[in-house]
Amino acid sequence: MSRRPYIRPVQRSTWWLAQPRYIRYMAREVTSAFLCAYSLLIIVGLVRLAQGPLAYDAFLAAVYSTSGQVFSLLTLIFAIYHTYTWFQVTPKAMPIRKGGKLIAGSIIVGAHWFVFLIASVIILYLVGM
Amino acid sequence: MKIIETDVAIIGAGGAGLRAAISVAESDPQLKVALISKVYPMRSHTVAAEGGAAGVIKDEDSFENHFHDTVAGGDWLSDQDAVELFIHEAPRELTLMEHWGCPWSRKPDGRVAVRPFGGMKIERTWYAADKTGFHLLHTLFQTSLKFPSIKRYDEYFSTDIVVVDGKCCGFTAIEMRSGEVTYFKAKSVIIATGGAGRVFPFTTNGAIKTGDGMAMAYRAGVALKDMEFVQYHPTGLPGTGILITEGSRGEGGLLVNKDGYRYLQDYNLGPPDPWPRKKAMELGPRDRLSQAFWHEQQKGRTIKTADGDVVHLDLRHLGEAKIDERLPMVRELAKSYVGVDPVYDPIPVRPVIHYTMGGIDTNIDAATNIPGLYAAGECSCVSINGANRLGSNSLTELLVFGARAGSGAAEFAKARQGAINESAAKQEAEKTEKRLAALFAKEKATESIPGLRKEMNDTMESGAGIYRTEDSLQATCTKMSEIRKRSANIGLQDKSKVFNTDMAEALELDAMIDVACAMANSALQRKESRGSHQRLDFEARDDKKYLKHSLAHYSPDGNPKVDYRDVTITSSQPAERVYGGAQE
């Protein structure tokens, strides 16, 4: 048999360095690490809250410490990137038709950002109330 | 040698081959079907067809209309019994395609829409935007996956029909990936290998359209019928030969010369109405339009470009919305390959070799003169297209006669008496192996494959193009038989067994030379002008002598013997072909 198809090896852990679009993808996926860590932080805060004022204040101090602030900043950046990527793909996942015609993706994405703004303002306002 | 045994074997998995396979599978699920193709089915050139497929559907249309358009369009060289059968089956086959999922374009009420096409009296061309062939092919391919009895052999290059005691006993093919010669032992065989446009240098046809099946049948003893009739399509893109569909004229596109003048009115195709008038001007038949170009060129009224002379196809007045809805592919192709956006500028176009009306001689049941051997699609000639095919008849043809070939071959396989004499058949099949071994073994090749192919292309264009003369054809015939001889001296530079395309090109060249010889010789001997066959030395149609099919019989020296058979006429006596305002 003269056939001998050659199978090129796949770089299992570094494949994503090959192309900018893969790097962008991995950046999006890595947002989950920050979302995860920050949700854990919130949960820790809730547990601390349940444990009493001393525990809770120590927790707050940690959040306001320099490393806590750096962590929050990083998370904020990745959270916004998550929002950006998530909105960007919604027209694909949930296309909307009206009268047989597709509604332009940019309109759907724009509407999402609009809701995002309103939601953010409400949250900021409610917390301060 | 590997032997694969089956009931029905089909060579070619384009529209015709796939339709035939499904037809066999539906007629009897017990029959084993082998579907062989030198490329994956969805690569077959049916994929390139853009415009549409003809079938009577509108209330104001009638079978008589379709019959008459086809017969007159074919300059009365069509067999009228075949045309009758064809037009009646056409809407049924197209409806069947709809049932199988073909995304035909629709009218607002949800019924199938039709568009006008060249040489047709009423709109009857079903279309799926401007990707009709693509959708037909993929629908057929995907539907074929439903049938477990259809076993595909993709990328097998078929080379020779095996005939024992005058009966077809299968064929040989080379598995491209291993280089192994395989004998397909079959009770009946259908050839559906498509056309042979690649015989010419400037063509809309893909690289695979090299007439292999025609040559196989021809060498096995089936005549090639009406090979002198080769269609030029009036609107190909200069340089690449990419087709701009007739649908673009059906939608209202205009052809103008270098002065912006709609020159077709000078060739009995007027009046130049601003709207698309059926069977007139831009909607005249292809042969007339291509010939008009030639005359304009003689008069110096075409536009000179680096890729030869062109005229302009103007779609601008249709507007962006209509172009995008009906002709998206035209816009895309023009933008990419000639850098012209038809919304803003006219598209440069010129006539280009498009279709082989002639082919493997079959009867109305798609059967050849060799028992057990059938043919359908562009490789065959049942004679519905006569001397000039009407646009959108061939996609329908490959469905109608593909289906017919399938049921005929199925019946034949079931009724076939007596086992195939395997040792005799194997002996025949081994000839292919030997021929191939000799090709591989040749050390000193004095001819190159691309070189010889180019010489063939050039002589076919110069001698057997839009207009022909005794001298030009004689020169081409002489040149072709010289090329036939010299082809014995080609060899392979690639000696690998695996996916050897050098070998495939050698075999394709071999087939094309046979086909070209049949074309040139048949043309030389037809001393009249009819449809796409136009002779400057015999300008009139001569029904007395040539209301006949030409039949070219194989001869190894490249000079086939050509004889004739009467055309079947049922209800339409030959008359003058009139287009334009004069028709009414």
Partner: protein, 247 residues
Amino acid sequence: MSRDTVQLEILRYDPEKDSEPYFSTYEVPFNDDWVVLDAINYVKENLDRTLTYRWSCHMAVCGSCGMVINGEPVLSCHTFMRDYGDKIRIEPLQNFPVERDLVVVIDDFVEKLGSVKPYIVPKVEKTVDEGEYIQSPAQLAVFKQYTACINCLLCYSACPQVGLNPGFVGPAALALAHRYNLDSRDVGRAAREDVVASNPGIWECSFVGACSEVCPKSVDPAAAIQQTKIASTVDYFTDFLTPWRKQ
């Protein structure tokens, strides 16, 4: 910039001679109107008869000439030399075994394509004499885009999950399943779910989106897959909450 020649670096592999692939360089004339396939054909006709690749239509519709050019999967008949520099690097499609030179083995894909039952399962059987099924232009528009796939496999080459998970049914096949699921004439969705909604089906896709970025026919398989995920998830929960409805 005007140039006379361009260098093509083409990946070569002949299983009968080579233990592994290597690059060969060819110098070809530069031509403003040429697509890369024209340059490759030039090599085959004039420089090296052993160069092996697939092509047919030269008009971006048969899907046979997919290659990786300068790292990006493209149709070589629809990619212009004028858009590249003086060196063009040409490799076979990623994620497929290399049969020889630029020809890859696609059996596995063809198998997967068939596995999603890509044909109409009719709602009501109609005979030909009863005419066509009625389908409004709006109903057609819902799935039209997903019928445009030419099986060129650029998406399989671009999708990292195809490379990392050989069992993955992959973008084009899943988009085709979606095409039939959305067709108003079809009721085969439940039957397709066996493959489509299995682990190697839609769930192997992590929405990289590369498939849609490289698709020459704007099929947008990424969208098809995400929509299928949503529909399958809804199905799953409906089946779970209303077990009596299951046949």
